[in-house]
Structure formats: structure tokens, C-alpha cells
Amino acid sequence: MPEPQTAEPLLQVRDLKMYFPVTDGMLVQRTIAHVKAVDGISFDIMPGETLGLVGESGCGKSTTGRCILQLEKPTAGQILYHGADLNRMGRAELAAMRRKIQVIFQDPFSSLNPRMKIGDIIGEPLAVHGIEPNSADRAKRIAELLTVCGLSPKMADRYPHEMSGGQRQRVGIARALSMKPEFIICDEAVSALDVSIQAQVINLLEDLREEFDLTYLFIAHDLSVVRHLCHRVAVMYLGKIVELAPCDELFDNPLHPYTQALLNAVPVPDPTIEAGRKHHLVKGEVPSPMNPPSGCVFHPRCPVAVENCSGPVPELREMRPGHWVACGEVS
């Protein structure tokens, strides 16, 4: 378990499991296997903190975000928000909680309803939740939100297809901000954007964090983006957290063999240095999450694996202050 800290965490995830059943049969559905997308992960997010969640495609990082948002019903585990378990909430309680937890999606083209104008997209939650019931006040608030996100208030009359990807992502951010949330899950929020637009959107996210005291869960696979934005980083592999550490500590002193391989794969932006660098490629492919390896899930590919690695599942251990690693061979 990550260390208990003095301030109360905003979000505590405890032993979260999300197994998707693989079923067969026409009328009577038989479960023949489970895809273990998320397999027992735990972490805390402190108020005002940005936690990065990194890992390759299919490692369960997006599923974790969807579970916190209650878009998926987790198989097991607790998601405590201000100490209250989101998994056990009824519809009404959850609806109130949803105002505080918002999401920014990866794809700016499919995250906005193509049949709605920008103003309606941003204004809908304000109307539905009775935040701005008066339409004139609402229009004012929409203009305000658009301005905050670097868009012209005139854009409220546009349709999503009339905007560029970067502009649409800003609309997505404005929509997430409309209910004055405390916590925003950025699910690959910049991955689909051009590099130059990425920088703008990252700066916007940073500014908003300052301005509105936001807490982020930043799901990404781009390590340089994560390093720029996050306070702490959790590395996921095959549904498990293998390493969790403060951002600089993780990048400067990675302890888990998987994290080391991941960081080693990041190219250096200098062709001469890059050409001379030795890459320690991880052998093999990611195993199927339907039938993950026993013990440490990374052991079949691990360069330092010993016999014992296929035995008991390694727990997260605190090797340095705040630096947790799930590997039996690290000392």
C-alpha cells in the first residue's frame, strides 16, 4: 500500500479489479474466460496533485479511468472519493458525485456530439444539473468557459465539424470544466493532437490546474508529456501497477525492469546521440490478459527474472521514500 499521508487523499483506489467476461452461447450466456484488464491496483491521489498513469496499449490504464468514472462497473475493489465508495453509490448519489469528477477524452472528433452546437454541448450540463437554469446566465457562462479555454465566444454557434482538432479538444475541456469539477481524468487527452497543438493544450491544462485547483489523473503513453505535467507517475503493465514514484525520481532512477525498458525506449532528440545509443529491447510480446503469467506478470519478458518470479505475486514495496516497486529482485 502507498504510504498514508498527512492530508486526506482526494481519491483512493483500493485493490481495483475489472474483469471483462468472455461469453459464449445464444440464450444462456456461459462465461468461458475473463479478460483481466485491471487486476488489483491501488493508489491514492492527493488534492491538487497530478498523477500520471502510463503504460503501453492494452495495459488497463484507460479501463482504470473508466472505472473511476463509473462508466464500467468494476468487478471488485473500492474507489473512495473523499472517503465515499463510488462503487456502492445509487444513481442519485452518483449523479451528484459526477459533477465533481469529469473526463477529457482522447479523440476530439468523436467526443463531441456532431448534431449539437458547441454552446449546447457546453451548456447542457449547466441546464440539466440546474447550475445555470436561466438561459441568459447560461450563455454568459458558456462564453466565459470558451474564453478560459482559449476559444472565441462566437464559437458557441458552431458545429463540431466546423472546428479543428485542437479547437475541438478545447471544447472538450470547456465541457469538462462547466460543472466546476475538482477532479479531471485526462484519458490520453493530447495523444491525438499534433505536437504543436499538444503543447498548447498541455499549457492550457497546466493553467487551469492553477486557476481552479484541479486534480488530474493523467493517462498517457507519451512519457515526455507525463514528465512535464505530473507530480507522481504510476507505471502499469498487464493490469497491474509495477512502479509508483514521484515524477523526477521515476525518470531519473527507475527501479522496475519494465520501467527501465520503457524509459530506455524513449528516443533522444539528437540524431547523433540516438544513433550511438544501445536499446535494450524487451523480448517477446505482451501476454494475453485473458491468461496472464503466474507470479510477476512481467517475468517471461524480464531481463533479470529468476526462478522465484513465477511464484508469489510481488507486492508493491517502498524502496525509497514515496518510491514503490513491485519487483522481488530490486533491493
Binding site: 462508466l71 473526463v103 467526443s111 465541457r175
Partner: protein, 301 residues
């Protein structure tokens, strides 16, 4: 694409200007790009006109008998001839358009809308609800349309309102099935997730976020349903299970003429038959044109 959809205000920016020209062009260019669709629309509009102003434009009472001219061939007094009771064929065909369109539109709208909401809801809720609902739909789809309609009529009895029920019921699963497949794809799109994450009600997500995005298949179903409903109504009336005499209906006229007078007075069957064919053809052509216009692959952005 009607004139009413043109922006009223003067074009302010270049974008608005190009947008207005696109609307204008597409309104004018419909006939050029979709000649069959435009022809279908023309026939449909003519039918609507005939049905609405039947009282004004017809020369005779549809139920008035002229016993001097029973089974008269088309002539200058009775342009399309008279039937075995001496009633004017032209008048009855024009009044028949009223019956056909009434049954056609009511069945198509109720059937398609019920199918739309049920299909989207089935896709949205998924799981056991979807599974059971789809199996029920399978049972309905297993019957040919006419057989199912016949079964309903034989339970409820004849008459216009029962015919409408009989035709509407088989439409619902057809539309629900098609709409569900589109809605399944839309359910996975992030804007639906975003709506759920914002705590919107199921009703709002289905009606505001999903239904407007399955409009293309829905409108195509709707237009073809009108044609199908007209044909079904005519079939049921022809079989004596639909609209009852003396209400003017094309299927009834066909029945009266075809069996006994096919050789001696062919006009009694030919003209109502032509009316049915033309109406169904027109709605199908119009439906095809709607599909082409709504298909995003064919539409230039």
C-alpha cells in the same frame, strides 16, 4: 432541404456565405442529381394534394351510383370509366389516395418512431434486456409482413383503425433492428460516455445524444415504410380484411374489378392497380434518394 432552412440573416462571414450557397445549390440541384427521387417526390406531393383537396377537385361523390352507366368504359363524362355500381373511377381513385396516405403515413410514423426508440434503448441498455428484446423481435420478424398483418386483423377484426394496428406491428421490429445496429456503433462513441460521465438521465442520453445520430437509417426506413404500408393496406383490402366498402380504397377497387370483370371491363382493375404501383414506386424512389443524400460517403463536406 427546403427554403425555410435557408439562413434568414444576411451573410456576415465567408463561411456563412458558402454555407448559404450550398443550401441553395442542393435545393436546386436535387432534381439534377436525384432525378428519380425528384420524380418520386413529385408524385408523392401530387398524391398529397389529391388527398387533401379531394372534395374540391373530384367531379362526383365517391359513393354516388349512376345506374345508367354501370361498367362504362372511359369516356368524356367518366374519364376512367365506372365500376359495377356505376361509381366514377377517377373520383374513387382520388379519394382512395386519402385512405392510402392516411394509412401509409400513420403506420409508417408510429411503426418507425416506436422502432426508433425501442431499437436505440435496446442498444443503449444492452445486456439481458437487449438479448431478450432482440429474441422477441426475431419472433415477429419470422413471419412475413402480410401473414403477421393477416393474423392481427383476424384477431381484431376489419376496419381502418384495425388495419393500421395490423400494419404497424410488423413495422416496429423491422425498424428497431436496423436502428439498433446503428445505435450499437454510436453507443461506443466517446460523446455518449461523456454524457454518462456528466450524469445525464438514460432518457436524455437516448433521446438527445443517440436518436439524432441514427436519423439517416431511420428516415430511409420511414419513407420505405410509407410505400410498404400502402401496399399492405391494398393487399389486406383486396383480401377483404382491410378497409370496408363503401370507403374508397385502391385495394378494394382492385378486388371489385379484377375477379369478375377482368375481361369485360379491364379499366375497373387497371386504374386502381396503376395507382398502387405508382404510389409505391414513388415512395421507394424517394426513399432511395433520401438514402443517397444522407449517406455521408456520398455527401461532400
Amino acid at each position: 432541404m427546403t427554403v425555410s432552412e435557408l439562413p434568414n440573416s444576411a451573410p456576415a462571414t465567408l463561411e456563412e456565405l458558402t454555407e448559404q450557397r450550398t443550401w441553395y445549390k442542393s435545393a436546386l440541384g436535387l432534381a439534377r442529381r436525384q432525378p428519380l427521387g425528384a420524380a418520386g417526390l413529385f408524385v408523392v406531393l401530387t398524391m398529397v394534394f389529391m388527398a387533401v383537396f379531394a372534395d374540391v377537385i373530384t367531379p362526383y361523390d365517391p359513393e354516388a351510383n349512376d345506374f345508367e352507366f354501370m361498367l362504362a368504359a372511359p369516356n368524356s363524362t367518366y374519364w376512367l370509366g365506372t365500376d359495377q355500381f356505376g361509381r366514377d373511377q377517377l373520383t374513387r381513385i382520388i379519394y382512395g389516395a386519402r385512405t392510402a396516405l392516411y394509412v401509409g403515413f400513420v403506420c409508417a410514423f408510429i411503426g418507425a418512431f416506436a422502432g426508433l426508440v425501442l431499437g436505440v434503448a435496446s442498444a443503449y441498455f444492452g445486456g439481458m434486456f437487449d438479448l431478450l428484446f432482440q429474441r422477441v423481435m426475431d419472433v415477429f420478424m419470422a413471419f412475413p409482413l402480410i401473414i403477421l398483418a393477416l393474423a392481427v386483423v383476424s384477431i381484431l377484426g376489419t376496419g381502418t383503425s384495425n388495419v393500421i394496428i395490423a400494419i404497424t406491428i410488423p413495422f416496429i421490429p423491422q425498424c428497431a433492428r436496423v436502428v439498433r445496429s446503428s445505435a450499437l456503433a454510436i453507443r461506443e462513441i466517446p460523446y455518449v460516455d461523456a454524457a454518462r460521465a456528466m450524469g445525464f438521465s438514460h432518457k436524455r442520453i437516448i433521446l438527445r445524444h443517440m436518436v439524432p445520430n441514427v436519423m439517416a437509417p431511420f428516415l430511409i426506413m420511414l419513407t420505405t415504410f410509407v410505400g410498404q404500408a400502402i401496399l399492405l393496406e391494398a393487399s389486406l383490402s383486396y383480401l377483404g380484411l382491410g378497409v370496408q366498402e363503401p370507403t374508397p380504397a385502391w385495394g378494394l377497387m382492385l378486388q371489385g374489378g379484377a375477379e369478375e370483370y377482368a375481361e369485360s371491363a379491364p379499366w375497373v382493375a387497371i386504374f386502381p392497380g396503376l395507382a398502387i404501383t405508382l404510389a409505391v414506386f414513388a415512395f421507394n424512389m424517394f426513399g432511395d434518394a433520401v438514402r443517397d443524400v444522407l449517406d455521408p460517403k456520398l455527401r461532400s463536406r
